[in-house]
Symmetry: C2
Subunit: 417 residues, 2 copies
């Protein structure tokens, strides 16, 4: 593998900023929700860059957009492409890197390979998957999920958004309801370049994360019910305090995570008390639990420990507890061969790397169902993402894209197995 050739960093950085200005509102907030007018403008811009690079643009029925480099003039070893991708839809008040870095980094890698005269053994494709963020339409990672066969395309197109729109109508309206069946290109390998969205790489001063797995996610809503009695007149021993019971669950989860030897994380992000009055003992506490672990067995063990604690709390505090499952994703283990390639590519460029777990969901976890997949992470300053303060230093953006370049060059050189 040669490291002599590198991406054209100024082109990548310029495009990142240009795309980051599409969907910017009067107050400066970046909002480019899936299948919206502003996302159409973003798609148009990316499509024009894909065409400028001499690639073929293809769109499937769920709106996933592809830039396909199918070299002509020689016989390919195999038609199954190497796919590089991510998404260009954003959250509300987003940063400019989440998703876009993977799409534009992928395009940059293909352009560089073309420019350096590289002759791939198979097609190379850059993909921008529809509705990764899931802000307007649920679930998130929808385009890649449909592409991997995990959700029926017609069901997905019928999704009603939180603004009352239907995804299929919106995709037609903006001109991105394509003719291809999702999954029409079955990749030989998939690589996704992404900002970490967490603090680990920056804290440790390591520019490249070789993402070896992705945490399983367990989301629950827990409702605890007690009695709304007077805060002054009800002795502690006679209380059925739903708020206190909720607080005990929160500290229990923290203790579990802290005492675990695993990368388990547990978060209570939402809470509400009823009647929510200063002098009334809460009769009801509703809160969410977000549990994540890269190991499915451990995740199940943690869910069971929580369930057992809820039984204990119900008895201890004389409250009733109900739980509702909001989401559940199994952990994903990425392809060891590609992860090793990422480490080797970093080392060849004298970049420190470490294996890392993705705590967030990504399109790669869906595509991993149909192809060997992995991800490359670059540092996020202070771990901030989904926020205008989301920043990755230019040098790290360039390093990550160069590692992707080398990995793709290697993958696209290999013959069919």
């Amino acid at each position: 593998m040669s490291s002599d050739n590198s991406i054209r960093s100024e082109r990548l950085l310029r495009r990142l900023r240009e795309l980051g200005d599409i969907g910017r509102e009067a107050d400066g907030r970046l909002v480019r929700l899936a299948a919206s007018d502003t996302e159409k403008l973003g798609r148009d811009r990316v499509a024009s860059w894909i065409r400028d690079a001499g690639l073929e643009v293809a769109v499937d029925r769920i709106g996933n957009m592809f830039g396909i480099w199918r070299p002509v003039g020689y016989e390919l070893v195999d038609d199954a492409p190497i796919m590089i991708g991510s998404h260009i839809d954003t959250v509300i008040n987003a940063g400019i890197y989440d998703g876009c870095y993977g799409v534009l980094g992928g395009l940059e890698v293909i352009e560089t390979l073309k420019e350096e005269g590289f002759m791939p053994a198979r097609p190379i494709v850059v993909a921008a998957f529809t509705n990764e963020e899931g802000v307007r339409y649920a679930p998130d990672m929808m385009g890649s999920l449909v592409y991997a066969g995990g959700l029926d395309v017609d069901a997905a197109l019928a999704t009603v958004g939180n603004d009352g729109t239907v995804l299929g109508d919106e995709l037609s309206r903006i001109g991105y309801a394509g003719p291809q069946e999702p999954g029409f290109l079955r990749p030989r390998a998939y690589v996704e370049l992404h900002i970490e969205q967490g603090p680990v790489l920056e804290r440790e001063g390591i520019p490249i994360g070789a993402v070896e797995n992705l945490q399983g996610i367990s989301w629950q809503r827990i409702t605890i019910e007690g009695d709304a009695n007077h805060a002054g007149t009800t002795p502690i021993s006679m209380r059925r305090d739903a708020g206190l019971a909720a607080a005990r669950v929160i500290t229990f989860l923290r203790d579990q995570a802290r005492n675990s030897n695993s990368p388990m994380v547990a978060t209570v992000g939402c809470i509400a008390f009823e009647p929510n009055a200063i002098n009334v003992i809460p009769s009801k506490a509703t809160f969410t639990v977000d549990l994540r672990d890269p190991d499915e067995n451990r995740l199940q063990t943690e869910e069971a420990a929580l369930a057992a604690f809820l039984v204990e709390i119900a008895s201890d505090e004389q409250v009733s507890v109900t739980t509702e499952r909001l989401a559940r994703f199994q952990p994903v283990t990425f392809d060891k061969g590609i992860v090793t390639l990422v480490e080797q590519a970093a080392a060849a460029r004298d970049l420190r790397s470490r294996r890392i777990t993705s705590g967030a969901g990504h399109d790669a976890q869906m595509i991993a169902r149909i192809a060997p997949s992995a991800m490359i992470f670059v540092p996020s300053i202070a771990g901030i993402s989904h926020n205008p303060r989301e920043v990755t230093p230019d040098a790290d953006l360039v390093s990550g894209a160069n590692v992707l370049l080398d990995v793709v060059r290697k993958l696209a050189s290999e013959g069919a197995q």
Copy 2:
């Protein structure tokens, strides 16, 4: 003291129900907010009963209403009256006993004493204090606070309600801005009959509570600030989780209360997280703390323990903590002589009694500033109050009023000290 004579229970119970129907809305909810149109109707009804009983009606500038029995035909030992009182304003969706029982019970006692030919050594007065609930105008217990000199009457009249009205205007509009200066009758003793609004008497099967003191109240709003990072990508050790810190404060307060040998109670009734998203670590948690203890030194010790724990939490969890004092009332110790009279009166009627602490605020705590005061509690089923399910069995209502009768008969027999 004679227990031969008793109140006319059917008259008391009938009036309680009649007053409880004034302010009943179309949906059945009882709402008789201070100085409102419906409260005017309630005041008019009570005033007519006072007149029917042959008492003089007086109203002071803050709208406190009095029924004065000043016997004629013999020389009184002293002009300082025995005052019996409470309030007739209600919360929204109230029960019919809170406050009204003390006013109508007081009127019943005076009528009974008149009817039995009792010749008091001093006047006896029933009082209905303005705006005890504090729902429409803050602070609560306003009428009795003004009466006791704790708040300037003109400042109180200028209070703007949560509906934008000015209390003084509303009192004039409903015809209850009286001519008397608050405090115009300085009682020799004050007794207030009230439902417990807590579960202790009912749980213990005791019909009479001799209220010996009233808890001090310390209300604070606590704001904890951390960092809103991604719930999946931020390792536990790198978190500044405001929600977890709040939960630790809640469990700390419960532990303090449970391990205390005092009747201390601690309640966190209100809470809010920001940004309140399932997959975001809370950057901000705001919650209220309601601490109560009948002993001022202990209450201060508990406030100090909480403050020390907040310092510890700020360091442990790397969060910043700010506190805001919302209210602070010192505990009130009621007059030992009157408390003993209550116990003796109960015993003479073969009613079990126990000394009890009031966990709620009452007009008696204000009048205690200017006169020896105490309260008589009767059981509240399940401790429920401020709620249409607020119930005290008729037999207990009658027992409480008879105990009040005997206490007042005794107090009104005594000469000037």
